[in-house]
Subunit: 237 residues, 2 copies
DNA sequence: CTGAGCCTCGCCATTTTTGGGGAGTGCAAA
DNA sequence: TTTGCACTCCCCAAAAATGGCGAGGCTCAG
């Protein structure tokens, strides 16, 4: 049992496999003496990556019932910046309340605290602690530990990003300044005539840049090229 | 002079005007005894929001020379998740090195440490400390203070979001599932025929989604719509 | 000094996208 | 229950983008 936060962070930073990460999450749960600790990556598509102490049954249930789409935790965190205690979220929808009851039946505690984490290219993940205690106790717990938990959440996500080899397409092609400008104009919604005017070049020259950028980015069309330029971060709108 | 971090954070949390925020940033600079501290929001359009101790001359210069586009700090941080010391960034471009020299001439220190911060709807901001010390001293400083600085960065951004009421006017419009799918397909480079086949609907129906998404996103054309969907984070490629 | 990459310009034909019209079903909240 | 919104389908003509053919001047590094 790890009983110092620094040791926990060191263990986390040293983790080199998914199993290591899972152990760290379990150690976290024990360290904070709560029912569950979970880190998971969220995509529109579905769960690409995660580690936690929820039962396999609950995870299956969650996926099977497509709770991802109605879970106020996901939804709420996606739209906010700061960590949140579950009680603060919007449980007004019937489906959400049913999900909550279902969760209790599957062994989750009635209290939760979730930290949203955002990485490059729209990456989004959550780190959650869950427990079964009274409101005021949970509030006190959260107040005391928020900052530490935020650091932990950050370190967890750092590891997850490293594991997922997010930098695999690391060699984002380098576009020339004019090509970048052209992409930026298009991303801002200009058509070719407007963009050419903006850059003070002929529309044809602009086309050359767009084509060139498209080829460099390996894109099928202009929209694709702009999408790639945006999501690799080589242009910012 | 504030000399306890907790007091600094309390002051920050109590800040209710931009001037308050500016004072906190200055207090931060003094607390850490560095040359400069800066928080700023980043958009291609330009600085919408920021507070810092850089001289007005340098800020003007920065904007005037469009350094936003070549600054490796902006660039590097946009593509990474973790905080970074400036020395670790890519200064190989000539323009970047010239900018650095220029910065020194305007009173910036040779060392920097910048924390990228991401909020909902693709919001992106940076928190930077800048100083003039030897490499090893800076490294030690960074090692000792990274976690605290991350918390501060988070709190700063929380304040900034509250001020700009980002969640109010520029909250990203909600697209329907089909509209999101359509946008995603286009962002992946499909043309309308391919996307329609992918979604198993007629090309015309697909058009309806695209148009609808375009209107909701306030976009001029398809490329613009996809760009907005990507940069607000409502779709991920 | 030579090649590579960047910046600039033009024309033609074809494909794709866009901007207007409509029209009907079903679900879920007000 | 009504109202709204999401989802699905169709036609036509105009506008925009694409693909492929050129060309020359510039700078920077090998």
């Amino acid at each position: 049992m790890i009983n110092r936060l620094e040791d926990l962070l060191s263990t986390l930073q040293a983790a080199s496999t998914l199993e290591d990460l899972q152990s760290v999450i379990e150690a976290l749960r024990d360290y904070y003496n709560v029912s569950h600790a979970v880190y998971h990556w969220v995509n529109s598509v579905g769960e690409r990556f995660g580690a936690g102490t929820y039962s396999a049954e609950w995870v299956d249930r969650y996926l099977e019932k497509d709770y991802l789409r109605i879970d106020p935790v996901i939804f709420g965190c996606f739209q906010r910046f700061t960590p949140v205690s579950w009680k603060e979220l919007d449980w007004s929808s019937k489906a959400a309340r049913e999900m909550f009851q279902d969760a209790l039946a599957f062994g989750l505690g009635n209290q939760g605290f979730t930290i949203p984490i955002r990485g490059p290219n729209g990456q989004f993940a959550l780190f959650t602690l869950n427990d079964n205690v009274a409101d005021e106790d949970w509030e006190r717990f959260v107040d005391q530990n928020t900052h530490d938990l935020m650091i932990i959440a950050h370190e967890l996500n750092k590891k997850a990003l490293a594991f997922e080899k997010w930098g695999e397409e690391s060699s984002s092609p380098s576009l020339s300044p004019r090509e970048l400008s052209a992409m930026t104009c298009l991303a801002k919604g200009m058509n070719r005539a407007q963009a050419a005017a903006e850059l003070q070049i002929s529309e044809h020259t602009l086309r050359v840049y767009i084509e060139s950028a498209r080829h460099k980015l390996g894109a099928m069309n202009t929209t694709h090229a702009v999408a790639r330029a945006l999501s690799t971060g080589i242009i910012i709108v």
